[in-house]
Symmetry: C2
Subunit: 450 residues, 2 copies
Amino acid sequence: MTRTLIGTLKSEVEKEVTIQGWVDVSRQQGKMAFFDFHDRSGKVQGIVFGKPEVLEIAQKLKAGYVVEVTGNVHSRPEKMRNEKSENGDIELEVTKIEIISEAEPAPFDMDTELNLDTLLDYRPITLRRDHERAIFKVQAEILVAYRNFLNSEGFTEFQAPKLVGGDAEGGAEVFKVKYFKGVEASLATSPQLYKQIMAGVYERVFAVGPTFRAEKSATTRHLSEISMLDLEMAFIKDHTDVISMVTKLMRAIVEHVNKACAAEIVLLDIPLALTPEAFPVMTLREAQALIKKETGVDKTTEPDLEPEDERFLCDYANKNLGSDFVFVTHFPTKKRPFYTHVDPACPEFTRSFDLLFRGLEMCSGGQRVHRYEDLVQRIKDKGLDPDKFSFYLQAFKHGIPPHGGIGMGLERLTAKLCGVVNVKEATLFPRDINRIDTFTSKEQSTEAEI
Amino acid sequence: MTRTLIGTLKSEVEKEVTIQGWVDVSRQQGKMAFFDFHDRSGKVQGIVFGKPEVLEIAQKLKAGYVVEVTGNVHSRPEKMRNEKSENGDIELEVTKIEIISEAEPAPFDMDTELNLDTLLDYRPITLRRDHERAIFKVQAEILVAYRNFLNSEGFTEFQAPKLVGGDAEGGAEVFKVKYFKGVEASLATSPQLYKQIMAGVYERVFAVGPTFRAEKSATTRHLSEISMLDLEMAFIKDHTDVISMVTKLMRAIVEHVNKACAAEIVLLDIPLALTPEAFPVMTLREAQALIKKETGVDKTTEPDLEPEDERFLCDYANKNLGSDFVFVTHFPTKKRPFYTHVDPACPEFTRSFDLLFRGLEMCSGGQRVHRYEDLVQRIKDKGLDPDKFSFYLQAFKHGIPPHGGIGMGLERLTAKLCGVVNVKEATLFPRDINRIDTFTSKEQSTEAEI
């Protein structure tokens, strides 16, 4: 018999159907049995009564069992309807059950709040919870929106390599790989240099893929392996063109997720993100002046924002500016990588920006240096060796337009859109200093909340 | 002035426009200058005459220069039209040129056939050639089609981790990574175990991402880093359900690429792929019997196909069966990984398959073992330790439906769709035993054609 997806059962009332799915809940009441079934498309309640041969099989079913169930779809009587629950106005009168796979019960109650270690130790089964399924549905739809929007704006997707020749960029902690013939390679901390090369090929490019950082910190924000959403666009006048594009991108993502994940948003119980047509934009110094004015704390000479500043600014923008997103621009030249374009109007600051969302830095970006001589000089100024960048520098020696872009962590965006506190909850299989699926050593450190 | 994309100039005839792009060709003829310009959307010819101040700037322009050009769009006189060339019926009468970025000429003629090492040594500029831009446009559109098709079939995309805890699977050569606290991690050779876990969560899942193989061979088929397209689907009756889905997928990809890359297909000069509604399916033993019958060579007891067999079968299918794709099923149980489902009708063979395309194995797939006890036994039979798979095995202990799927190399598919011989030409930044962008050692080995 052809399988009917549970999500379509409403249009099968008074018909016989066969569904395939998992048993979520199983309750026996004398000569009756009640079940909640789910498949990828939805949930439904099933009832067995008056069929001893079916009841005999029904009594074996426990949560996690995979079954094929044939039955008749009925409208529930008015008073039995549960408007809040999916398919709460129908039920399946079961006439046949076939067990496809048996299952052991989970070693904990699937419906309770689990601590992070349990959640991650048992990822293959905790991911089956409604809450987790909702988070990673949102994550999948973020990607749909990200790609659809960028494709519609003339961007071309490309595959950035992850094995790189050396730690040319310096800075972030880098994982080392044993390559061939005793050579040591590195895992890419960013596709930055490749996406600039690709901006010279297709003007507008984007990439989705893992990046790796040997972060020694075990915080709610850090991971060893991050899924990065990168984009780069050429023929810009300055970083404000990138800000405009990213504003449209974030609005497109939020709008798509609100639509495609309506049920998940209800389940996760999160407010819709505030996305005005233009997001607030302030320089670092303006942001720090605002913090001083509002809180009395003087950070007006600090070179960067601290996590508490990011939280303050987002809170302020949410309450006073009608936006959950805030751009902060003009970070100091000293603090930004060599490829960041200096602002000629104030050379100690750069045409760079961070985008903050719900208290957290979501992405970094800006205009890049595009003149060959300037770039070589900037590499030297940072104490790096231009020879190590010879492959990359070809793109500049042979003509590249002004360009800029961003890198954005998919997990952070997912976490903030889903209202989960720890970025690891928004990562399917998070890796950090202590864990690759299971703990990497017996010495388990606790999460530091920074 | 607002930028007009070159691809839209045909609708701007007799209007003044400003374009931004690269100079491809520059020719001076006395008081006239001719240019070919390109941007991400297309190409156009520009002409300067009778404007000494513009001609002065025009004379500086060389290939690679990035410029902003203002001018008037004209229809070309009938006899000056070039129907074969893009925008061959219009030209831009240039009134103003602004140099955005200067460029050194490439150290070789960009239009000649380049040997592989030159092509890769100068990737940042060779990628700007029409031929290379066409290949990676096709690659980007393969991904658009892959995701759109799978999303429409109810698949959910997920991010598979690349840092893995150990070489649990054995088999393929694995790169080792120095993780934290002296722990050694590995780079994933496949997302296999994770996509099976995810099939237990969303039934139908797919992933796109890099996988890593420490392949010591330097052939036209091997890479150290591969972009893999993976999918897994649950509630299948056996491997034939996967074959049906993959057939629809490949037809959707070919159809989309033919449409979205019509100009690129002309430029690459490749025949359209033959994709009948059902692709030929034969068991390994049937394929070997066919080879024996047609060529006289007896390989009827071999455990696998050799490259020459794959080429023969594809050639045969192209000429006799109207298909550029061929499925070969039922590889020996001994030769396939532990998770491959045995065919109960002939237990020395598996419900596995390879999909061949234009002479090359494009993807491997099949039904997977889904019963917990069977899986533990298969792991033991392969001489592996079930304890090392405890994380993965949770998905099976707690109930998973019958499922199967495939993994497919994006670069191989791109190469065969674009008619390039070496998979490295279909890889933006190929890594192999000798190369990570530049050569990793002075000892450069030559490509072995196997």
